[in-house]
Symmetry: C2
DNA sequence: TCATATTAGTAAAACGTTTTAGTGTGGTGA
DNA sequence: TCACCACACTAAAACGTTTTACTAATATGA
């Protein structure tokens, strides 16, 4: 019943040639290795007719490479990551690479484990949205000359390729938009993580306010604890909006904060309108369909994925170790 | 610079034992194989100190199993699938299984390729949301006695385990809700796919209307071509709502149709209220935050993932081939 | 005609494990 | 004293490839 999968040996036997010959043909080295066209055709026919597929595991063991790219994200169910994952998958697939992914939940421990696991599976390259405190693990990969590209989050202490957007510019742009609308009290809702791309969102916001108004009111900045339950965040936001009735604009530094924020406003029956504007980080259907429509800072997903995969492929195809490259794209302010 | 990864041979040499002994220790067979505790401890210390991790590729080649489960979905960027993927990943991880996934875009060809690819990587089990016309490929897997669980979509011609929800009941429930609200002209927006879980949504809708009203008006059913561009769908929906001003309730058979529908309504400036109710298939933040809130038929994601993974693990841990099992869960009507 | 090149292939080692079938030593019971 | 067993461990084959180093036969050039 359970028919064992064919091996190169079966094909060799059937074609009356050595397995070496079959291997050469499989790997397109037949001409180079002086295999006659007669034999090539005969063997290729058998391969096709029998539907033989070489065992990739054996191949990996022998060659040390797997044609697999490891993708490590914080949470695949976050729309930003799943969109990127899908795009990366498509593009990698076209180059004959597969993606194996895992979510870290932002735990350095899990990240460490995952890297080890991927290593023991001989993945060829790593695409990582790194958790904090994983610098050494990534450095270890770099020391082994594995192709690595970080995205979304950057680790400044590492000399590693990166694709992301300029968050200072993006949040400056958003805040400036509010300021040009003559908003007086612009709040920022962010998280209390000391990672570059979060800190930058704060910096851009602050800089815009200083540039336009000269002084900034720190009490309008809410830093929600990272990983806090949604309900708690909503409660905190309600309190902020109650205590600071003077707020006339809010910039949310992540998409889920914006969702919590809109939920809080809904529960308070406070409407978003010209007197109270909102901008969300990362775009999505939620914001487009909201009444009124919510402005958003969209990240260029397609381009991010494109750049990531091309950096990876370049490293993969070059024999020497390439210079690291940092690609900083611009976020787009979508005014609604 | 590039230090080669350690192998079992290095450990054996260092501990002055054979590689067999190290292997036994690694696999917890040390006691059973009469290895002295002195040796066990010595070897374990070296393994730990050197941070040795066995090469999984070699292990797979030798054992034929990989501790990897292949997950094949239509599109990982669809929130339903990414949510399920995340839950499955978590649960599998706890049992020491990894997930490798790919999106099929509902192409039988890609699906075939993927199965081959997974096979050549010796994945231990398959979780599949099957595309149409892939019955033979899945049957081939079953013939090889590979653990397979289908979800979301079912293929009636196959004797295979499945986890999904009762779509007849779900759409009946939704339609009945409308009928109890005395809705007179209930529309159904669905897609023109002849797959069970889509057809069932139509059947449940129709049955409810027949049960309550005796006759059904087929012109209130819109079957959008599968894979059609969003803009086109929106245009089609606008036309439906214009031509049939009598419609006072709409059931959308998928989440993306609901999103297109709400967009269409927004563009027409037609409001959702007590005179025009909407129910969406699959819940999400979009519907919760919409003004007014949109009722939805939620699928029990957590339970679906739980059932899938436990079916897979059961098959994986049992030596014989188990009877196939069909788990049909109930969707929940969330009235807002 | 002989040395050398070219053509058309192949044998065998290697990748890093697991597992089967041993081996050698010391102890025990009769 | 001998047969046997338990104990503690190991040699070597196997998984399915790729690749290096070879061979044997024919062709070429001087």
């Amino acid at each position: 019943m359970t028919t064992k999968a064919l091996s190169i040996k079966d094909i060799a036997k059937k074609a009356n040639v050595s397995i070496t010959t079959v291997s050469f043909i499989l790997n397109g080295k037949a001409v180079e290795k002086n295999i006659s066209t007669a034999v090539i055709e005969r063997v290729e026919k058998i391969i096709k007719d029998d539907g033989f597929k070489p065992n990739q595991v054996a191949r990996s063991l022998r060659t040390g490479s797997s044609k697999i790219i490891g993708l490590i994200v914080e949470d695949i169910s976050n729309p930003f990551f799943s969109a990127i994952a899908r795009l990366i998958e498509d593009k990698a697939y076209k180059k004959d690479y597969k993606i194996i992914y895992s979510s870290t939940e932002n735990h350095p421990g899990k990240m460490k484990e995952l890297i080890n696991l991927f290593k023991s599976r001989q993945v060829d390259a790593y695409i990582i949205s790194p958790a904090l405190g994983t610098e050494q693990d990534i450095q270890a990969l770099l020391d082994e000359h594995k192709p690595v590209v970080l995205f979304d989050r950057f680790l400044p202490s590492l000399d590693v390729s990166y694709v992301g957007i300029d968050h200072i510019e993006a949040s400056y742009k958003a805040t400036e938009h509010f300021l040009k609308l003559k908003k007086k009290n612009i709040a920022l809702v962010t998280i209390d993580l000391e990672v570059e791309q979060i800190v930058n969102r704060y910096d851009g916001y602050k800089q815009a306010i200083l540039d336009y108004k000269g002084n900034q009111n720190e009490s309008l900045v809410l830093k929600v604890p990272f990983g806090q339950e949604k309900e708690e965040t909503i409660a905190q936001l309600k309190e902020l909006f109650k205590e600071h009735a003077e707020i006339d604009a809010v910039l949310f530094a992540t998409n889920y904060l914006a969702i919590s924020g809109l939920t809080a406003l809904k529960e308070m029956e406070k409407v978003v309108d010209t007197d109270f504007s909102v901008i969300a980080y990362d775009d999505g259907d939620v914001f487009k369909l909201h009444t009124p429509q919510i402005s958003a800072l969209g990240q260029p997903l397609e381009e991010i994925a494109e750049r990531i995969i091309s950096l990876i492929l370049m490293q993969l195809s070059s024999k020497e170790v390439l210079k690291t490259e940092r690609v900083i794209l611009s976020g787009e302010l979508i005014v609604r």
